[in-house]
Amino acid sequence: MLAVGLNHYLILSAILFCLGLFSVVTKKNAVTVLMGVELILNAANINFIAFAKYVDNDLDGQMIALFVIVTAAAAAAVALAIVLNIYQRLKSINLDEADSLAG
């Protein structure tokens, strides 16, 4: 039986990271993009926890993961508020429409 090792975690996180990147870059919906960002953050979190288990015997990895969850929530809250605001202005949350500032 194949033991679940560090590499598996890393591969999982890498896949998550890429998915996150993909949705950040391609999705037009602001909320979806923010979800992509969450994916990236969680990919990092998986890394942290895996490394904390396999590489470091300290608690740094777990600790930062907790902090990330908290700050991500805060960031998401502010970001969503802004998205809401944009929706009121533009009646749309399509990112491509928010391009009046350019050049």
């Binding site: 890393l10 996180s13 990271f17 996150g20 950040v24 602001a30 993009v33 923010l34 960002v37 990236i40 953050l41 990919a43 990092a44 979190n45 890394n47 942290f48 895996a50 490394f51 904390a52 590489v55 470091d56 300290d58 740094d60 990895g61 600790m63 930062i64 902090f67 990330v68 700050t71 805060a74 960031a75 998401a76 502010v78 970001a79 508020a81 802004i82 998205v83 605001n85 944009i86 202005r89 533009l90 990112l95 928010a98 391009d99 009046s100 500032l101 350019a102 050049g103």
Partner: protein
């Protein structure tokens, strides 16, 4: 380390954490005060903020006497380096409060939250300046980012402001994601998040340089986003243009300087053999990060300056110019010497005066003539000579011409480059050629103000400039010239602040 030691260390650290604690207290006080005070009495908020800032200022100066040490189990460092930045941040905050009071853009809105957020932002900057652990670095950066999103969107009824906030938020969240992923890789490589330990581990053993490179590049994405360096600068012109001008001014200095603090500390502690004694040190052998930063610096200066030429909105032009200036300041980081760090610190102070000054003049004109377009600045020199002359001083300083502070700042940067030897001459030449380009677009503003005739249909009557404005202009303008003539005190301060804690 025993648990009791850890707790004792935490308690002992409180003493060194006084400025931040005071600032926290101030924020709480302001939240309460905002609830209690009626909206129409909002001037009080700014007064509270100013008084609080004054108290914090004393606390910071007091830190010089306490001496350097690492606090909260090596989470933060209190050293001359961080004190220097804290002073700079506080000065920025205080000045931005003054600018905000004057700003017409912000008038008629509830400013209680605005000032509160500003103070929280300052707290975040303080943490960035002293963070020595990846956790604190991340949290500080996030704190600064999130509050900035809110401030940029502060004029929520204005489309441009909202749009700027949205871009800022998405770009910021994304780049912290990248940075975090990079940090996680670094953690995997070294097994620690403390930057001193990271440095030791990396120096001690041969790490996979490819993984290290990826992690450093990703981390650089986070830092680069803060200082708005190429290629992580894209948010900045849009945000600078969309945000309320005082906030733009703040963003162009505070978070940028904080970003430099983090970059200098992280790269020099974690990725080089800095020992706090030698004048010149080396990057770790398995990653040539000075070269990366050199390329980034050159690209940043060049792109910022080149694109600035095509701008016709002064605020946006200054946004690009501040991108370019980040590139200049990076020059001091590249050379890995106390001379270089010193030059960067010096430059940031100088930049503080001249950039805030330039933004302030824009605020003045924006308030009076209601436009930020270069074309609408035509003939302003005859209508409002004092701001126009001040603008001249600031722009020449930004260009880097004697006898202004900007020249001295650039002089130190290039001196550091030249001192580092012939392999950096190219960078010096690129940098200096850029200042010629810079002159070209700064001069466009001057040309509009001084040389061009007032556009038809605009009354040639003199504009009324309140003494308040004039005083603020003097506060920013006089140092810009004075430092250009005699800068030994500032130089001493900067050279004093070069030393960050070499070990814990």
């Amino acid at each position: 380390m025993a648990l009791s030691d850890i707790i004792r260390d935490n308690i002992n650290s409180l003493n060194y954490f006084l400025p931040e604690l005071l600032l926290t207290g101030l924020v709480l006080l302001m939240i309460i005060a905002d609830l209690l005070l009626k909206k129409e009495r909002s001037p009080w908020m700014s007064i509270i903020a100013l008084i609080g800032s004054g108290v914090v200022l004393f606390a910071i100066i007091n830190q010089y006497e306490l001496g350097s040490r690492s606090i909260f189990n090596n989470m933060l460092a209190v050293d001359e380096f961080s004190i220097f930045f804290k002073l700079l941040f506080l000065a920025t905050t205080i000045l931005v409060i003054f600018l905000s009071i004057a700003s017409v853009e912000l008038s008629g809105r509830s400013v209680g939250e605005y000032f509160t957020l500003l103070m929280i932002l300052t707290l975040g900057l303080f943490l960035m300046a002293s963070a020595t652990h990846m956790i604190t670095i991340f949290i500080a950066i996030e704190l600064v980012s999130i509050i900035s999103f809110a401030l940029v969107t502060y004029l929520k009824t204005r489309r441009r402001s909202s749009e700027a906030g949205l871009k800022y938020a998405i770009y910021g969240a994304f780049s912290s994601g990248l940075m975090l992923y990079g940090i996680s890789i670094l953690y995997g490589l070294t097994g620690t998040l403390n930057i001193y330990e990271i440095g030791e581990v990396l120096a001690g053993r041969d790490t996979n340089s490819l993984a290290l490179l990826i992690s450093v590049l990703l981390i650089m994405a986070g830092f680069g986003y803060k200082i708005a360096s190429v290629p992580f600068h894209f948010w900045s012109p849009d945000v600078y243009e969309g945000a309320p001008t005082p906030i733009t001014a703040f963003l162009s200095i505070g978070p940028k300087a904080a970003g430099f603090a983090v970059i200098i500390r992280f790269f020099n502690v974690a990725l080089s053999n800095y020992d706090g004694v030698a004048e010149q040190w080396l990057a770790l052998s398995n990653i040539n990060w000075p070269q990366i930063i050199a390329v980034i610096a050159a690209a940043t200066m060049t792109l910022g300056n080149l694109v600035a030429i095509a701008q016709d909105n002064v605020k946006r032009l200054l946004a690009y110019s501040s991108i370019a200036h980040a590139g200049y300041a990076l020059l001091g980081v590249v050379v890995l010497s106390s001379q270089g760090v010193y030059a960067t610190l010096f430059y940031l102070v100088v930049y503080y005066f001249m950039n805030l000054g330039a933004f302030f003049v824009v605020i003045i004109f924006q308030d009076i003539i209601g436009s930020e377009k270069i074309d609408d600045f035509k003939g302003l020199a005859s209508r409002a000579p004092i701001p126009a002359i001040a603008m001249g001083v600031f722009l020449f300083s930004l260009t880097g011409l004697p006898p202004t502070a900007g020249f001295i700042g650039k002089f130190y940067l290039f001196a550091a480059l030249i001192k580092a030897g012939p392999e950096f001459y190219w960078l010096a030449i690129v940098g200096l050629l850029n200042s010629v380009v810079a002159l070209y677009y700064y001069a466009r503003i001057l040309k509009a103000m001084f040389f061009d005739k007032i556009s038809e249909g605009v009354s040639p009557e003199p504009l009324k400039i309140s003494p308040y404005y004039v005083t603020l202009l003097a506060v920013l303008g006089i140092p810009t010239i004075l430092v250009g003539l005699y800068w030994a005190p500032l130089a001493n301060l900067a050279s004093h602040s070069v030393h960050f804690l070499p070990t814990f």
